[in-house]
Symmetry: C2
Subunit: 125 residues, 2 copies
């Protein structure tokens, strides 16, 4: 078999923080420490990431996790009505209940109204 | 030399998200993608982490970074006066200027007033 046909390796997705939107908008900050093991977390997290995009007023999501340490997810919404819609989503409610039973040692949730924001991007040479 | 004198390895610090405070308080959310290499980042980050603790009204800080991906730091403050004091701190201003020149490909800063928060901790068996 010719090595000309080696499939190209997909480039890793470039991390891109959610940009500054025009205030006011809302940030839902979720900081957590996970239990050991996956326990179905990755699959559900991916599903939730898709579902939340369907909420009108959803502006984007940032996520980071230090290996063995803290995880932070921040979802941005245009207004409180959008947050409420996501909070009451049946599948999301089930995931939260399952998460408290299986995935999280501890977490804190902060719901905050963004009053100022700005972004920076390095100039390309 | 006796192996009885091998120094104990320090236990890794247990990650602990900042807890829910009584609203209102403020969250300063900083999401970033770093340039390649350290370029003095770790040393300055540690110094800033010490300095911010001296700001009256500083409530705590959460940080996470996905290797090769997004970093998120959230500093919590009691009020806007505390944020202003930290923003105008001379050493912090110098670090921000250096960071834009050397450490960051891009970042977004969101300053948000926390209106609701709550925490969860797994019951110990």
């Amino acid at each position: 078999m010719s090595d000309h046909f080696i499939a190209p390796v997909a480039a890793a997705p470039v991390a891109e923080p959610v940009g500054a939107h025009e205030p006011p908008y809302y940030a839902v900050v979720f900081t957590s420490v996970r239990t050991e093991g996956d326990n179905g977390y990755d699959e559900t997290a991916e599903r939730m990431g898709e579902l939340v995009k369907e909420i009108p007023g959803f502006l984007g999501e940032d996520a980071a996790r230090t290996p063995g340490g803290l995880g932070i997810t921040i979802a941005y919404f245009r207004d409180e009505a959008a947050i409420d819609e996501w909070r009451h989503h049946v599948e999301h409610q089930a995931a939260k209940k399952y998460g408290r039973a299986h995935w999280y040692e501890r977490y804190t949730l902060h719901i905050a109204k963004v009053e100022h924001s700005h972004g920076f991007e390095r100039a390309r040479g």
